[in-house]
Symmetry: C2
Subunit: 461 residues, 2 copies
């Protein structure tokens, strides 16, 4: 039996145990944004460390940061071969609104070949494809074709505030020839893809302060600026009727889409009517003159993620509220810089703040856009691996999401980043009923098995 | 000792007990909008009934409705004299935000001659001036100069959904020559006033529905209509840069303010800089071309009372929210009709709904504006009574608030409504740290003592 056959047989034999492990992992409510889940974050980190040890990794440790810990482990016994740093994250998004989950978010179940639970696709099961691939090699043939390091963090969903300092402090320990990340969806069902571009992120919170306390709307209504109205005006001033962002300078560093760009992405065009049906909206919409695919990957956006102010409970409370606020995030592309964009937004707000209220703005998130050439040798190797693992050549795409750490890794570790996504659109990442197609658990592992072999041959060509 | 002297001495002797009763009444958390306070509503009604019996009223009963009960009691032994129906309400507004109360809302305390607690001015202490006035007459001279009926409801703060059917069913029992209500503020400290006009109310809730669940803003941002953005656009489309409401037809039935109107209200003009300082806002603002007084009493408004949508908790949740909503209320004047206004708003929303979302609107509140001539005999008698009770002639004002039941009473019982307010602006009606100036408890009772005598002489002139 060849090495390859041994690995394959091991994965088949151990599959049920592997899935049970993923489910146990999903059961840990590792919500990084909520301080009440701090103990669960530590629990998830310890669980991962134990999982890395079981796989056969060495130097496994739970490394403390100023926030949630990073889990590290390595196997470095392939001299002359490249070293891949595998990144993943064990934290998950909040779960509200709970009432919309068909089964509780932290009680994973398998229905119709899909694993349901918060974190299933983002990023627990995807991260596990890497751990189980390494385990399959080390527990059968006793070695990997390449060197690997794992760097698994617990703060991706809160924009990785402690990852940069960690990478800087541990630059030597984490040094690698490439970074591999599986933390997103492929282009579409039956259409494996390699993502060579990501949007950046500029997140901020606006707070509008009006009268010192809520006022009776009969006695004061019409007489003072209503902070909710002021917020509505401010937010309204940020987009025009064509869905274009009206922040001055916002599009200055966005490359216009060329006819060639548009032609290249033609085979990727999605069935917009089908997407609208799936999302249960009357129609897709957005910036005029662009397709859904372009709007969600190649164009920048400004989205209101949340808004609040005044009375929200049962009944009417006829007040002029004392304050109001909104959480907003811009997705950035090409050369847009989150700090420049933030400065433009602040200037816009200064110019548009209505009389009678005071407005404060706090930047909460910043991440630069990312790009790697589809012609890079490590990307070509990934394409070969996908073709093997999925039985189909991947398409090359730009993703609309932001993984600020991708840009951080590229910048701080001076190594190319290869995104090998095994999720699917529609798996409700961040929403209720998040799930992961388990067929892609197996295909993902098969792809990774081939990738490590392929990388070894790339480097020795 | 004259009857008048007996009544006065009784009120002085019993003052402390009377205040203790008011405080015990404020202690009952009778929040009508919240179903969890249902038992407290019954408790407050029973308390009031007991208080009416102590005063010497007859036929006292707690009358059930489809909602919270109405408390009734009467004294009808002044043949040939007018019958006054005294209206009040024992329900109070919600108390959020609790953190802004200096002392708990339902643990009343007296500081600097003011009684602090939810419902102190709206309407528990004001209502008690009536009960204690009647008690003073009946427990001393054994009779009142006029006939009185009390009708004390528990649903004013939720727009009195069951009062109209109650008044219709009990029209005979409640028949009166005038209705007297003490449920608002006077014009200003040291400036007693009689309110001869009230704004009407049209309250509604807008709900914007987008995708079936929250979406990842990286993957879908820019590609679908964000319901919060759609709501912001919709609400933004309802006012122009001059603070005018842009709903088509909104001002059709508003009488333009004449030079005479403006001159008449000249002595009432408020110190706008002082109000801005008290409210802690940079400036007062609102519809262009009108003073603060005009904007808050003679002009209609559209105020957003609350807004919600997407993630509101700690941290950023980068989503396109599934839905958003807002609670809005318009204050109406002159001939504006809440149902006509609602129809205009629905038409406006239909015309302005952005593509890609569905919008639903639910009217929650309707109340017509109210007006009584300042020359009416019952109003002139009230002016005489105020001059006696406060040592100063009252001014005549229009109030910006809405007491929809005022118009309901006038319509259903075919009797004029006399508003005798003893509260003050700045007493934080509906807000945190609501309070009532106790000197106006005494002055209010003195005013009412004189009013009942004055009414008797009016009717026999």
């Amino acid at each position: 039996m060849t090495d390859q056959e041994q690995v394959k047989r091991y994965l088949e034999q151990e599959r049920e145990r592997h899935l049970e492990e993923v489910m146990a992992f999903v059961r840990i409510p590792s919500i990084s944004s909520s301080s009440e889940h701090k103990a669960h974050m530590q629990e998830a980190a310890e669980w991962l460390a134990s999982s890395l040890r079981t796989a056969g990794l060495e130097h496994v440790e739970v490394m403390q940061t100023a926030g949630h810990p990073v889990v590290y482990g390595d196997w470095l016994h392939a001299p002359g071969q490249p070293t891949a740093l595998i990144y993943g994250h064990y934290d998950v998004q909040p779960v509200e609104p709970l009432s919309e989950w068909q089964t509780p978010p932290f009680e994973p179940v398998i229905r119709d070949g899909k694993l349901y639970g918060r974190g299933a696709t983002d990023d627990k099961a995807q991260m596990y494809t890497h751990i189980k691939t390494v385990e399959a090699f080390l527990q059968t043939v006793g070695k990997l074709p390449v060197n690997v390091k794992f760097c698994l963090e617990g703060e991706e969903e809160i924009a990785s505030p402690n990852l940069s300092p960690f990478l800087q402090a541990q630059a030597e320990k984490l040094a690698a020839d490439l970074i591999v990340i599986s933390d997103g969806p492929m282009h579409d069902e039956g259409m494996p893809s390699i993502c060579y571009g990501l949007r950046g992120l500029c997140g901020f919170e606006i707070h509008v302060k009006g009268p010192k306390n809520d006022l009776h709307s009969g006695l004061y209504g019409g007489g003072v600026t209503n902070p909710v109205t002021a917020l509505v005006e401010l937010l309204g001033s940020m987009k025009d009727a064509d869905g274009r962002v009206t922040i001055e300078g916002f599009y200055d560093k966005v490359h216009p889409l060329t006819d060639a760009d548009r032609e290249a992405s033609h085979p990727l065009q999605l069935d917009e009517a089908k997407i609208a049906r799936e999302l249960n909206v009357p129609a897709l919409s957005g910036e005029k003159g662009y397709t859904f695919l372009e709007r969600t990957s190649a164009r920048p956006t400004l989205e209101i993620n949340g808004i609040y102010g005044g009375h929200q409970g049962e009944g009417l409370k006829p007040i002029v509220p004392s304050s109001a606020g909104a959480k907003v995030s811009c997705r950035l592309v090409d050369e847009q810089d989150p700090d420049e964009i933030m400065a433009q937004i602040r200037a816009h707000i200064d110019r548009h703040t209505p009389a009678g209220v005071t407005v404060s703005v706090q930047q909460t998130h910043r991440g630069k856009p990312f790009y790697i050439s589809p012609e890079h040798a490590f990307i070509r190797a990934a394409a070969t691996a996908y073709t093997d693992g999925f039985g189909k050549a991947p398409v090359f795409i730009r993703s609309g999401g932001s993984i600020p750490i991708v840009e951080t890794f590229a910048k701080l570790l001076h190594a190319p980043v290869v995104m090998m996504d095994f999720g699917l659109p529609g798996e409700n990442m961040h929403g209720p009923n998040e799930h992961f197609h388990l067929e892609n658990f197996d295909r993902g592992i098969a792809t990774l098995c081939r990738y490590w072999r392929e990388l070894a041959s790339v480097s020795t060509q």
